[in-house]
């Protein structure tokens, strides 16, 4: 059954928890089974996600990013919270706004920086850019720009994992705009019919480039579409990293137990334009203002502070450590040479 209200399973335990930890209510985050160390790790990944993108923004303005730059500002909790629910043997197919998910899977900031700057030392050797790279060793499948295409591909990963007895769950993402594609339907339907361990996170972030969700669909909640495939659909507050983690963990457990795919809709907002060149002038300013108050990182900071999970000093240290790390990562990425021209002709075929 699709849960189509904003009170999905991830938020249900709140009432029970509030009695013993009333302070955490102020940030409005969901209950979690994660301990303080894990919560701090989540915080570090979200902060890393945002700070890498801020560095990339600087590189873009300096003309060092040779193509477009895509930001996930405002959506960090969805990426990080969902990816954190995976086990090492699981696979993930991230999209362009899932840098945070990739960082959780072990991607180094320098790899993404070199990708954006088209360096020879980038994971694709300069052949592709941005977050478009994969690594089977880390359970990462590279996306293509055509939205929806990853859903059948990740269904195939899940199918193969099942055939190989690997206890593997596949996780992938789609935006509200991407749910309008044929592959969204074909992929989810195939995954459901074959009952493969697939979790799809639909990031409902308000806009597909300049097109608001109202021009993509006449439904309010993407999760209701799950009913069409006979699979569970969950709605979660995408700016609550603990809620995203909890609901994804449940879906991953279901998948691992052989109960098939789940569609999770994360309600969030894209706080920048489609890409760095786009000033998002088509988004009403009050919408940005409304979602700025729900900033996922600030909310999580309030939760950590008010719940006594961390002190302000500790959080500042996390940021300072990331900052120092990113200076070194950026120096490394900047020092990487551009690829040799002859590489353009290599590697079309596997041998």
């Amino acid at each position: 059954m699709a849960r189509t209200t904003g009170t999905g399973s991830a938020r249900r335990p709140r009432a029970a928890r509030s009695a013993r930890a009333p302070k955490q209510e102020a940030a409005g985050l969901a209950a979690t089974e994660l301990g303080p160390a894990q919560q701090l790790e989540l915080y570090r990944f979200m902060k890393l996600n945002r700070m890498v993108e801020e560095r990339l923004g600087n590189l873009y303005r300096q003309g060092k990013v040779v193509g477009g730059l895509y930001s996930s500002r405002g959506q960090e909790a969805t990426s990080v919270g969902s990816a954190y629910a995976l086990a090492p043997q699981d696979f993930m197919g991230p999209l362009i706004r899932n840098l945070g998910s990739m960082l959780v899977r072990g991607v180094k900031p320098r790899e993404v920086m070199m990708q954006y700057m088209a360096k020879g030392g980038s994971p694709t050797g300069g052949k592709d850019g941005n977050t478009h790279f994969g690594d089977v060793g880390r359970g990462l499948v590279a996306p293509i720009s055509m939205l929806g295409a990853l859903i059948p591909v990740m269904a195939g990963v899940a199918l193969a994992g099942k055939m190989q007895g690997r206890d593997l769950v596949a996780l992938t993402y789609i935006g509200d705009g991407g749910t309008s594609t044929g592959d969204f339907h074909e992929g989810l339907n195939l995954a459901a019919v074959l009952n493969v361990p697939l979790v799809v996170i639909a990031e409902h972030n308000g806009y597909a480039y300049s097109t608001p969700t109202s021009r993509q669909m006449r439904i309010k909640d993407i999760a209701v579409r799950a009913a069409a495939y006979g699979i569970p659909g969950e709605v979660v507050d995408g700016n609550d990293v603990l809620a995203v983690h909890a609901v994804t963990s449940q879906a991953v457990e279901r998948a691992r137990a052989g109960l098939g795919p789940t569609l999770i809709e994360a309600k969030t907002f894209r706080m920048k334009g489609h890409a760095e060149h786009d000033d998002a002038g088509y988004v009403p300013p009050e919408l940005f203002e409304q979602w700025r108050r729900r900033d996922p990182i600030e909310r999580f900071e309030r939760h950590l502070l008010e719940g006594g999970v961390a002190t302000a000093d500790e959080l500042a240290q996390v940021a300072a450590a990331i900052d120092a790390e990113l200076v070194a990562e950026m120096d490394f990425a900047l020092a990487s040479p551009m690829p040799p021209p002859e590489r353009a002709f290599e590697g079309v075929y596997a041998t």
Binding site: T124, A158, A160, G161, M163
Partner: protein, 338 residues
């Protein structure tokens, strides 16, 4: 040795590869219980089970997408398009995901997409196509188009073992019209052992075959048109024209050296294919001859293809549409007298 049909050779190749390699599995519409509308996969569900012979919804894009995902995990999926015309429904997954994947991030995508292609069976616009030129343009793909029983067998085995995405276009007109002996004993009866994986009979992808040596003029062709060329060669021999027939077998990558070798030998070339003329594989072959074989040519490179129309239904219309022995012989006479 027992003679088998072109269709049985396809089944035999898949069967053996599945016996010898647990990574190989089938995905397609009606491939399991029904055995496919042409019976290409008949008996395979019983032998290999529903885990490896998977009936799918009518979702060509998802079939190919799932095959890509499975291939990334090290499987060797074989996707059947019920008719190859439907491959266009999976165009994005093939042209944007599978083809460029190894170049983009170094990850091989070993998969095969196969299905019945070609006309002359009154299948009309959507059950008669030869879509190779759509994919000829896509980097990273290989395309094979067998025209004999031995090649149907050997190219499919090679395709399944290839680390790249291979499109295998089998010509449905040849399914039961061709019968020949395979290099290894067929194994279609239940309970028989598959020949070992190294039993032979593999046909290397990317290598043309000289189907008929001749002195006067070369026909470069593949698929069902191979047999049109061979029949025309017999007729023209009686008129004193000695045709050489080169069977490309693989149309991507094209065996350019074999093409240039026949140009150097006969100095006149006609490219014969069952595709619409514009943007065809025939055009690509002709261009390469013009570029690299010009000095050996004693006449213009001719192309005999289908007109730039959809495939028509009525037998009189389809006959007008398709190349045949009469049309080829006439074009050869014209070129021979140049």
């Amino acid at each position: 040795m027992t003679a088998v049909t072109y269709l049985e050779a396809i089944r035999q190749a898949m069967w053996e590869e599945m016996e010898n390699d647990p990574r190989v599995f089938l995905l397609g519409q009606d491939v399991g219980t029904y055995g496919g509308p042409f019976r290409v996969t008949a008996g395979m569900l019983d032998r290999f089970g529903p885990e490896r012979v998977i009936d799918t919804p009518i979702s060509e894009s998802a079939m190919v997408g799932a095959a890509i995902g499975a291939a990334i995990l090290g499987m060797r999926p074989v996707v059947e398009m019920q008719f190859i015309d439907f491959i266009s429904c999976a165009f994005n997954q093939i042209a944007n995901f599978a083809g460029p994947n190894h170049y983009r991030w170094g990850q091989p995508v070993p998969l095969v997409i196969r299905g019945p292609a070609g006309g002359n069976v009154h299948g009309s616009a959507f059950h008669s196509q030869n879509p190779e030129s759509y994919f000829q343009h896509t980097p990273g793909l290989k395309i094979v188009t067998p025209g004999t029983v031995a090649d149907a067998y050997g190219l499919l085995k090679a395709a399944i073992r290839d680390p790249n995405p291979v499109l295998y276009f089998e010509h449905k007109y040849l399914y039961r019209r061709l019968k020949d002996e395979l290099p290894v004993a067929p194994n279609l009866e239940p309970g028989r052992e598959a020949p070992p994986a190294d039993a032979g009979g593999l046909v290397p992808i990317g290598r043309a075959r000289l189907a008929r040596p001749g002195r006067d003029l070369s026909v470069v062709t593949y698929g069902a048109m191979l047999h049109v060329a061979l029949e025309a060669a017999e007729r023209l021999a009686a008129e004193g024209i000695d045709l050489e027939v080169l069977d490309l077998r693989t149309v991507k990558p094209i065996d350019e050296e074999a093409v240039l070798a026949t140009v150097r030998k006969t100095n006149k070339v006609l490219v014969l294919t069952e595709e619409q003329l514009s943007g065809s594989v025939a055009g690509e072959v002709a261009a390469r001859i013009a570029e690299r074989g010009f000095a050996w040519l004693d006449g213009p490179v001719h192309r005999l293809c289908c007109p730039d129309t959809p495939v028509p239904y009525s037998p009189t219309l389809e006959e007008a549409y398709l190349p045949n022995v009469d049309k080829l012989a006439a074009r050869v006479r014209e070129l021979a007298s140049y």
